[in-house]
């Protein structure tokens, strides 16, 4: 707000590298921040609701919607026949994802029709009245069933290979094979999916959509309506959480609302209730990793050969890039001299799994930690020692399975820091001693590292645009292609702009993301939001600054190098002129005070067919040490302590980054511990509310929780102010919780056998593993 607040002269308020509060903090605590459902409703608005299939796999024999049409308050009913353009919202262009099912049902909860009514309650009730006759087919719900049914792949698989895997495996002194099952995860963004479509003149429609990817929603809606992209405007000021669940999943709701809005010439709102949201939308992919590892008696890896099968659901959606990223992170911090990694993106008759924080990376990475654990047990060595032994080198042993040379390896520094801060070795010894004397309660401890590649692996997505205006009073309007979902992107980019102009951050107005201001944007995903949009905004500021400098040099006849941007003013030769005064003078001299900025990430390239390239601009690192206590009679457990050291380069905003680290860790912990998705034998998701799907609450947080940002580091690449991306990497710090549980379980048989725990490690799974370990200890079962 350029509201007369006195301007600072020593340093600006809200510059870069400061713990600036979230830009909407005041509005959030006051209840004044507007989410889409909070916007005033245009007169005559009708509510839309989706009619869903109650079979997982079937041919549709007939659809009778007479009762729906006759229901109280109903204004109109829409089916595939009412889609003016293409009945498809597949983000891949594979045409495998209809808006409304026509002849076939591919998952339980698939939309068949939509009903518009005067109230939301009326629409919701009417949506239950469709009479659908099905010819039922057998559901294919999980990876095992898909393999058994020889189900097709939803997209082209990927192979990453380096070295001669066959001979390296054969030549390895020791070999072992295993398999790990990794569960999925529901996003449970607290604000559910929602779209508000407002028809305009001509073919125009504006949609307020809770989406991480306004440009894609725009394209999908334009295809569905059969109109050019210029007729469709998508706007999103903020989301109540996204986590990847609003990267493609907003398309359906926006397209259905837009179709109804144009047909009825009324504003249309579509907000599914929570259960329907969870049933309809895709989730994190579950994986099964089948692996063979070759290693030696020291525990050094010689070869890794692994297949990563994923439950993709009924359509491709983002399953291709998600399973790719699993492979890109199947090495984590470890050098595999010979390696072959293959993805198997399987089609199942379940919701179409999609992006979720980490985007396949967590599944790949936890597989790598399982390999390490296997080797540690096989060689009777400490897992931390095996980790260190296999770390990527700095000058050698530094090439990934995708042939990118790692140039910024700081994992040794991170490890040193975490071991010191967590007092790891001493506590490990103390825990071993505790376990010797404690019969029922057992403790476990683990330390796991993270290396996460930053950039979209689809190289063309690594571009961004921004739009910056300065008004004649010196206040600044900021817009860019990134979306705000709580991660603090908006405030970070505003800090960049404030710093560039050297004006207080309250002079910068952050405005809603809209396809009308910045076009052809990428999803706010892959942790890339600040890297891309911060640089684009900086480019826009630099363009305007150059014009202001040119103008001032000419007007006051001073060399350009004697002009400097000082806090809230410019020094022009020997005089100082306030920022608003310079701006006003520039306007009077007819200088343009508006600019677009554009950025594309340098250096990156990727040849997917060959599996060779540099898909990542840089890597973010981190490590966590976790201690757990398990009750071996019930399988229940507590995370007693977690220590984290995480690398964010030179942080743009340590307060926001810290929130991302803490939140990412806890959310990752939920994925690996309590969050279990369950489909029944009819292919119906039975965990579609927080009553049955257990999300971490405050009491699940580790009792002692020490989080540190790695200090004294900068991004070795010139990313925005030498900071690093932080959205996804901390999620995988939670691997330490999982392996601490495994460590506690292993103590029951003197750490002689690998517990081979599957995720999520629910109390039931822990209990089963405890019993298996007890049996092994008693020699009743072969290892």
């Amino acid at each position: 707000m350029a509201d007369g607040t006195p301007s600072n002269r020593d340093a600006i308020r809200g510059g870069v590298h400061r713990p600036q509060a979230h830009d909407s903090a005041h509005k959030h605590v006051a209840g004044e921040a507007l989410y889409i459902d909070d916007l005033p409703e245009p007169a005559g608005l009708v509510h839309l609701y989706l009619g869903l299939a109650d079979r997982a796999h079937a041919r549709i024999v007939s659809v009778d919607l007479a009762k729906v049409r006759a229901a109280r308050g109903v204004v109109a009913v829409f089916t595939a026949a009412d889609v003016p353009g293409v009945n498809d919202i597949s983000s891949t262009g594979l045409h495998d994802e209809p808006i409304f099912a026509t002849d076939r049902i591919d998952y339980h909860g698939q939309p068949i029709f939509a009903v518009a009514a005067r109230t939301r309650a009326q629409a919701r009730r009417a949506a239950k009245l469709g009479v659908i006759q099905y010819d039922e087919l057998a559901p294919i719900t999980d990876i095992a069933a898909a393999r058994a049914a020889k189900a097709p792949l939803v997209t082209e698989p990927l192979t990453l290979a380096r070295g001669d895997i066959e001979s390296a495996m054969k030549g390895a002194p020791r070999r072992l094979k295993g398999s790990m099952t990794i569960g999925g995860q529901d996003h449970f963004y607290l604000e559910g999916q929602i779209a508000l479509a407002v028809p305009g003149e001509d073919r125009d429609v504006t949609i307020y959509s809770s989406t991480q990817h306004p440009s894609e929603v725009q394209h999908m809606v334009s295809h569905a309506l059969g109109v050019p992209s210029h007729a469709v405007t998508i706007e999103c000021r903020r989301m109540g959480g996204g986590f990847g669940g609003k990267e493609t999943q907003a398309n359906l709701f926006a397209a259905a609302a837009a179709i109804a809005a144009k047909k009825l010439n009324r504003a249309v709102k579509l907000r599914p209730d929570r259960d329907d949201d969870m049933i309809i939308t895709g989730k994190r992919h579950d994986f099964v990793v089948d692996y063979e590892i070759g290693f030696d008696d020291d525990g050094r890896i010689h070869a890794v050969d692994a297949v990563y099968a994923a439950r993709c659901g009924f359509s491709a959606d983002l399953s291709g890039p998600v399973t790719d990223r699993a492979l890109f992170h199947a090495d984590n911090c470890y050098f595999y001299p010979a390696v072959r990694l293959r993805s198997e993106p399987l089609k199942t008759t379940t919701c179409s799994n999609t992006a979720f924080r980490g985007f396949g990376g967590p599944q790949g990475m936890i597989g790598a930690e399982r390999f390490i654990e296997e080797i540690a047990f096989a060689t009777a060595k400490d897992p931390v020692d095996i980790r260190k032994l296999n770390f990527y080198g700095v000058a050698e042993r530094n090439v990934t399975p995708y042939h990118q040379t790692i140039e910024d390896n700081i994992i040794a520094k991170v490890m040193e820091e975490i071991e010191r801060r967590s007092d790891f070795r001493a506590r490990q010894a103390a825990i071993r001693a505790f376990n010797r004397d404690s019969k029922i309660l057992k403790r476990g401890i683990a330390l796991t590292p993270v290396k996460f590649g930053i950039s979209f692996t689809a190289t063309w997505f690594n571009q961004a645009g921004a739009l910056v205006h300065i008004y004649t009073d010196g206040s600044v309007h900021l817009n860019h292609g990134g979306t705000e979902m709580g991660q603090g992107l908006y405030v970070k980019v505003a800090q960049v702009v404030a710093d560039a102009f050297q004006i207080d951050i309250d002079k910068v107005k952050i405005t809603a993301t809209t396809t009308g201001k910045v076009p052809n944007t990428s999803a706010t995903a892959a942790s890339s939001g600040t890297d891309l949009n911060g640089m684009a905004a900086l480019a826009a500021c630099d363009a305007i600054k150059a014009r202001l400098v040119d103008f001032a040099a000419e007007r006051w006849s001073v060399p350009k190098d004697q002009i400097a941007f000082l806090p809230n003013r410019l020094r022009v030769g020997n005089q100082e002129i306030s920022f608003p005064e310079i701006v006003k003078a520039a306007y009077m001299a007819r200088v343009s005070l508006s600019a677009t900025g554009f950025y594309k990430t340098p250096k990156i390239h990727w040849d997917r067919k060959k599996g060779i390239g540099r898909p990542f601009y840089y890597f973010a690192y981190g490590a966590a040490a976790c201690e757990v206590l398990i009750d071996t009679l019930t399988g229940e457990y507590k995370v007693e302590r977690a220590d984290i050291v995480h690398d964010v380069g030179h942080s743009l905003n340590p307060a926001i980054d810290r929130g991302q680290i803490e939140g990412g860790f806890i959310q990752g912990m939920g994925w690996l511990t309590t969050e279990e998705l369950w489909w029944d034998d009819k292919g119906r998701l039975r965990t579609h509310a927080p009553s049955t799907y257990k999300i971490p609450v405050a009491s699940d947080r580790p009792t002692i929780f020490n989080v540190a940002i790695l200090e004294g580091v900068k991004n070795s690449e010139p990313a925005i102010h030498r900071s690093k991306a932080v959205g996804e990497p901390p999620f995988m710090l939670a691997n330490s919780v999982f392996f601490a549980l495994s460590d506690a379980i292993a103590s029951l048989a003197d750490h002689r056998f690998c517990p081979r725990l599957d995720s999520p490690a629910t109390p039931e799974r822990v209990l089963f593993a405890v019993e298996r370990m007890r049996a092994l200890a008693a020699g009743q079962e072969a290892a």
Binding site: P19, A21, H22, S24, A25, H26, K27, H28, V29, A30, G31, E32, A33, L34, Y35, D37, D38, P40, A121, H187, F188, Y189, L190, E191, G192, R238, M239, G240, G241, G242, F243, D273, R274, D275, M485, G486, Q487, G488, A655, I656, R658, G659, E662, G663, I666, Q667, G670, A689, P690, S691, I695, P696, V697, A698, S699, R701, F705, V707
Partner: protein, 164 residues
């Protein structure tokens, strides 16, 4: 449709409500108090938490008509003369929010906690008492810190008011 009267944020209000109208609908749609959010629709996430006659209640599973004559406080009713309530201020100061969707419910829950448990709240109590509020950004670390700070500030505020 019956007409319903109650006191909301200190002001008498009335409006029409069906028998099945939920309190959260009445607040959001009839009174346009949209700071109270709907997260899970089934009284588990706590985004819809308000105070009814001084007690924390989840408004997404409370019938509006059942609140006839009651005194209701929502997130919009906490600030006084343009000054944030100490608990709101504490959430703002301590970065106790990310996407912000759970924040109003968290703050209403926190104030209720102080009302029941006093202003000297230890971490364990806060964590336990927050079982009915989900933050999916899982920013619990700062939320707990905010509540402890807000509770302490409410204590000081209370003393100050008593002194005046």
């Amino acid at each position: 449709m019956p007409t319903l009267s109650m006191t909301v944020n200190g002001k008498p209000v009335s409006g029409e409500a069906e028998g099945r109208t939920l309190l959260v609908q009445f607040l959001r749609e009839t009174l346009r108090l949209t700071g109270t959010h709907v997260g899970c629709d089934t009284s588990q996430c706590g985004a819809c938490l308000v105070h009814i006659d001084g007690k924390a209640v989840k408004s997404c599973t409370t019938l509006a008509l059942a609140c006839a004559g009651a005194s209701i406080t929502t997130i919009e009713g906490l600030a006084r003369d343009g000054k944030l309530h100490p608990m709101q201020e504490a959430f703002r100061e301590n970065h106790g929010l990310q996407c912000g969707f759970c924040t109003p419910g968290m703050i209403m829950s926190a104030i209720d906690m102080v009302n029941r448990k006093g202003t000297d709240l230890d971490e364990q109590t806060i964590r336990h008492e927050l079982e009915g509020n989900i933050c999916r950004c899982t920013g619990y670390h700062n939320i707990v810190k905010s509540i402890a700070a807000g509770a302490a500030a409410m204590g000081k505020e209370g003393l100050r008011q008593a002194a005046e």
